[in-house]
Amino acid sequence: MSPRIAIGLVLGSLGLVMGRAAEPVTFHGQIQPLVFRHCAGCHRPGGAAPFPLLTFEDAAKRAKDLADVTARRYMPPWLPAPGPHPFVDERRMGDADIALFRQWADAGAPRGDPAAAPPTPTWPDGWLLGHPDLVVRLPQPYTVPAEGRDVYRNFVLPLDLPQARHVRAWELRPHSRAAHHAFLRVDTTGEGRRLDGKDPEPGFPGMDVPSVIQAPGGHFASWQPGAAPHQYPSGLAWTLRPGTDLVLQAHLQPTGVPEPFQPELGLYFTDQPPTQQPMKLGLGSVEIDVPPGQSNVVVRDEFTLPAEVDVLGVLPHTHYLGRRIEGTAIRPDGREEPLLVIPDWDFNWQGAYRFREPVRLPEGTRLRFALTFDNTTNNVRNPFSPPRRARYGPNTTDEMAELWVQLLPRTPEGRARLDRALLERIARDTVAYSRQRLRLDPNDGTAWINLGKALLSQRRLAEAETHFRKAVEVALDLDEGHYYLGLLHRIQNRPAEARTEFQRAIQLNPNHARARGNLGFVEAESGRLPEASVHLAEALRLDPKDVLALTLLGKIRLQQGDRAAARDLFRRALVLDPKNPDALEGMLAR
């Protein structure tokens, strides 16, 4: 190549580079498509964000803020660092796109050619997945106070379904800027309605809901503003049976003005019943004690998979002092893979993350969790200045350290092994959790009950009884305490005392299905069949899935000569438990 040609090429390419650098970044050219893709889901009229960003007028006056908040990665809100296993609907913006916002602001936010504008997205009816099969609205609005601490409140959404439906997707429209995040829960017992009825305002307070109000079959069912609606893969729908209520566990933040909260929930159904149910592993610890001034206090936990699984998603949780969260899979050959890394946790943007492709992990893989707390003044989210000692607790000024992992075992045998291992962990965690709660509040009746239950499962009956008695002593209106005392007395073959305790539980909570069912058993064992029938029928009204109550009432109906009613009860039991020996025997009885 001659020197002249070489110089010409260099100059030519320099001209190209300079020409490209000089190409102006405009709103309609580069910025508006990014805004539509990354921001418009919330920043649209009626959206979750405080202002819209759809038009040039909306965006240009905020050009510098847009450049700043994207450069700091405060917006779009997305906590996880990029990793080998990407998540569904990642809202992470690329470095090149972020640079465009800065260039646009620095250039004075030029409009560009309106003819080049991309089509403005539309949201028919406001629902992102189209009109739902069923829309449920909170019957009465709840008003979030203008200021004060965050509000944790549980709202019952009655469904009144005439038949069972399988949920393939759901979307929450909070219609309130106070809505910060929420979990969807299922209540087949009416307990939520009862607690709601005790509180004069809509819903009932608390971060902890009674254990009968549960997440739908192995799912996280978590919501946060701007997150894409939940859509479940084929076979992983969850079923809503008649008589089920939904309970929305909402975290609401005061905004400076009283905010009405009256959410709408859209449910999308499928005819395909679920073929599998995921399981949830909780990694974490209640042994949290972070001294003031410490920036590097790490809480760890670990679990070895007893079977091959697909990991479907993860849900981290900590409060204001948690900074760095790591969830790692260590395969049996020693290879380490990050499942989730959050370098700078933000309590205000917590949520669940679903993997785009399930992460398959072999038996023997270790799942490791590490969470770093920062209790210094450098942590700008520190609730206290000067910092104070932080310990485990349910209030936002206490601390928590959790990583939930959603697992799908690959085989039925694997599921059984995983189930056993998880039950052992839950028993261990329950004891640790309850002890911790009692350290904070010796009058915590639920903690006394949970410790009693752990002792009961180990057949340490006398100690369990002491704990249940303590529970009803410190919390007089605790129906569960009387229920477990009744159960203990049944095991001890003390029917008269068992009857008294179950009756007391029902008196405190007429919807206590298990107390009703057990009272039916006590009466049947005492030969009082008419009384037993009444209690069992009521138990089944409250919980139509109680197989034990179905089979016992079937047997009583047989004895009473009502074969048709008996067969109907056994049939219902077999639908729920096809191999139930009592129901099979009952069906064959003549």
């Binding site: 405080p50 202002f51 007028e57 240009a60 006056k61 905020r62 050009a63 510098k64 803020d65 700043d68 908040v69 700091r72 405060y74 917006m75 809100p77 602001a105 004075g108 936010a109 203008a146 200021e147 601490r149 965050d150 800027r177 005061p254 905004t255 400076g256 003005v257 009283p258 204001y320 933000d346 205000n348 700008v380 989210r381 520190n382 609730p383 206290f384 200045s385 936002t396 000024t397």
Partner: protein, 211 residues
């Protein structure tokens, strides 16, 4: 110099501003150009009160006003909205002691209806107005909403910056404030009469203007 006629009916119409400018020009020209003069004895502000007839007016401290707090707010800024209950409390508690609060809405695109609706929801009373041409913003080098400039009646600076320390950056907030800077500065001023001129860095949403 006009004689203030009382605590609230202190605003005069824009044509009287010309006179004010002429009179004060010999002492300090910047006051009229920028909207508020800080020379002791010459505190005034030019704005469009929200409840007025849309005309610019000039306000002065009344005889009972020991301090005037310019509170820069934006209806679309979540951090500004979050401060409203605290500002309302300060006004109710310190207003009777001679602290006058002026809510100033400088952002492009603010509407009377939008401001009134938010103030009604927050239960805020007191004076509010627009900052035409963002002159008060320029005069006081205000960068964000919420930002406060607390001035003694003679124009000397008591305090400027944030309302409290609840936010360290956009999106980085504590569950509740641990320092109440504006309250502390005003209470100290009321107790001592000394305008200390303290400053903090305000955190919030940048003042909106199309480049």
């Amino acid at each position: 110099m006009d004689t203030p006629s009382g605590r609230h009916p202190t605003s005069i119409r824009i044509h009287r501003l010309l006179l004010l400018c002429l009179v004060t020009a010999a002492f300090w020209l910047g006051g009229c150009r920028h909207g508020v003069a800080s020379r002791p004895g010459a505190l005034s502000w030019r704005w469009i009160p929200i409840d007025g007839d849309g005309q610019e007016e000039v306000g002065h401290p009344g005889p009972a006003d020991r301090a005037v707090v310019l509170v820069f707010l934006g209806t679309e800024c979540p951090i500004a909205q979050k401060m409203l209950p605290e500002l309302d409390r300060l006004q109710r508690e310190l207003g009777p002691q001679g602290v006058r609060f002026l809510s100033i809405y400088p952002n492009e695109g603010e509407t009377r209806e939008g401001i009134q609706q938010q103030r009604r929801r927050a239960g805020l009373t007191g004076e509010a107005g627009f900052d035409p041409g963002q002159r008060l913003v320029d005069r006081w080098k205000v960068t964000v909403t919420p930002e406060v400039v607390a001035l003694a009646a003679d124009g000397s600076l008591i305090y400027r910056g944030r309302v409290n320390d609840q936010y360290a950056a956009l999106g980085k907030g504590r569950p509740a404030a641990t320092r109440h800077d504006l309250r502390e500065a005003l209470e100290a001023f009321l107790a001592t009469g000394m305008a200390e001129g303290e400053r903090t860095t305000p955190v919030g949403c940048r003042i909106l203007r199309t480049p």
